[in-house]
């Protein structure tokens, strides 16, 4: 969604005094993302997510699972996030050790912004982007990076180590790591505990409304 004021709002001399936003645009909530608010179908206990990985919007369109405009919009979101979402390494050697020879760029080449941090270090090239198979998964489109092949890894035989996200999640794909459909592994978190937030609210809701669906906001 991208709405700008109509002719009424743009009259000379009026915008300067306006007390409202000049434009209101949404990138996730409207269109494709709207279904993300449709809820349901999310099993909180699930440990893997069905995801789709594409090199670019054209590859997404070619497969035909998503309509062309959603492919373009989601790719744009991931592309915009790339400079901040990519992991940063102090040296090219560190970066290529994780992502493979020739798969890294310097911060100044990427040019994520004017700040010193944005131009510092080395980061992997954007190999493609990841989206949920279904909008209801609520997965924000994000860039993915090639992972250096590891001996013994299934995809390594094909010379590809699969993909990883900026958060460090590995994406396991078939066909030597190049197929669009994949599983994002969300387990293997040794020592991490889950479920420690929310109990007090649920107990409160159950006692007051007899349901757990009412708002916790106000």
């Amino acid at each position: 969604m991208d709405a700008t004021p109509g002719a009424e709002g743009q009259r000379e001399g009026q915008r300067t005094r306006s007390k409202r936003s000049q434009t209101v645009s949404l990138v996730l909530v409207a269109g494709a993302g709207a279904a993300a608010l449709g809820l349901g179908g999310i099993d909180p206990s699930q440990r893997e997510e069905d995801v789709l990985v594409y090199a670019d919007a054209a590859a997404c369109t070619a497969e035909g699972i998503r309509p062309e405009d959603e492919c373009r919009g989601e790719y744009a979101v991931a592309r915009q996030a790339y400079p901040t979402a990519a992991p940063r390494y102090a040296s090219l050697i560190d970066c290529e050790g994780h992502h493979g020879p020739g798969h890294c760029l310097s911060g100044s080449e990427v040019g994520g912004g004017p700040s010193v941090e944005a131009r510092a270090g080395y980061l992997p090239r954007m190999a493609g982007y990841l989206i949920g198979r279904r909008a209801s998964q609520g997965i924000t489109p994000q860039p993915v990076f090639d992972h250096a092949p590891r001996a013994g890894h299934a995809a390594a035989a094909a010379g590809h180590g699969g993909y990883c996200t900026g958060g460090g999640a590995r994406i396991l794909t078939g066909s030597g790591g190049r197929a669009s459909a994949g599983r994002m592994r969300t387990a293997a978190l040794h020592g991490t505990t889950f479920g420690g937030f929310g109990q007090t609210g649920r107990a409160f809701s159950a006692s007051s409304h007899g349901s757990t669906r009412s708002s916790w906001g106000g």
């Binding site: 409207a30 999310i42 996030a81 889950f194 906001g217």
Partner: protein, 387 residues
Amino acid sequence: MRRVATGARPDWRDTARARGFVFHTLDGAPYWDESHAYAFGLDEIEAEIEGPSGELHALCLAFVGRAVADERILARLRVPETAWDAIRASWRRGDPSLYGRLDLAYGGTGPAKLLEYNADTPTALYETGVFQWLWLEEALRDRRLPAGADQYNAVHERLIARFRAVAGPGLLAFTADARAPEDRGTVAYLEDCAVQAGCRTAFADLPDLGLQPGGGLCTRAGAPIETLFKLYPWEWAFADPFGAAVGGAPTRFLEPPWKMLLSNKGLLPCLWALEPGHPNLLPAYFEDDPEVAALGRSYARKPLFSREGANVSLVRDGTPLVDGAGPYGAEGFVRQALAELPAFDGRRALVGSWIVGDEPAGLCLRESDGLVTGDDALFVPHFIEPT
């Protein structure tokens, strides 16, 4: 300030669907209502709502500065001792806040009076920043409103600017109860603003938040969370098993723990004690304070912790007007001088005044049949009349 029949756009439900506003009707009852709108003069907005809102927020910040240095205040607010260090540390580090909503009794006939500050988990944000804005633009286009009409609503722009100003380079995660459409929609909207501000974001349902051995929070995928936006009240978070980890966690929070002191109704007597006679404050006292007698036989009685009008009772001349039900009140009550909401065509209007960062940013109106604005109140749009 007046209530004007504008007539609803015939296709507004389709528009809402296309814009992701799925909670315009909740449990079969209407929530968004654009058959009418509230009209304000520009001077009413600027001199009587925007200006005082900035002053009230600044006064609130001054109060937090005092409270973190005085354990008697923290105890008076019934803040659990296990939360004190986390609250104090968040304030002393200068952890930034994102937004809040001051609820005001205002009808255009006298100074706005602060009823409470939804400083921790405010909702009605998307409706304000996006759908109300869109309503104005389309009403101008369709000539339902006079040319030159405006709206006090820079909420959307300010949210994006605030995320840009305060977010770090790491993961900004958003959490809420994913089963509540209104809450899920509110955080989806905030995540949208954050993405536009260039942040790296993710959504995690509350049970999907992980606590790592090192004390940091993470997502199911194991991604460390640098900043967590939580639409979940601090008093519950501190009572949860992970609550004890908040103080020592490298994760920062929106809203930060110190905002808990402002969403507490004990704020009201504390502000009155700081600035007695302030034109935008109502006299207020803790219920066990002998000075509460100064309120006489007309007052509002509010539990320290509550939301959406639950457990709020109103008494006029010794006679109960509203006897509030609900699950809150275990921590005690405050009493505040009675300021009945103004009536327009028999409907009661409540002004919600948004603060983004530390600046006033816009308003929303909730309309109800009764004197206490509950979660069944309608959202009604507003506009500023052309001068």
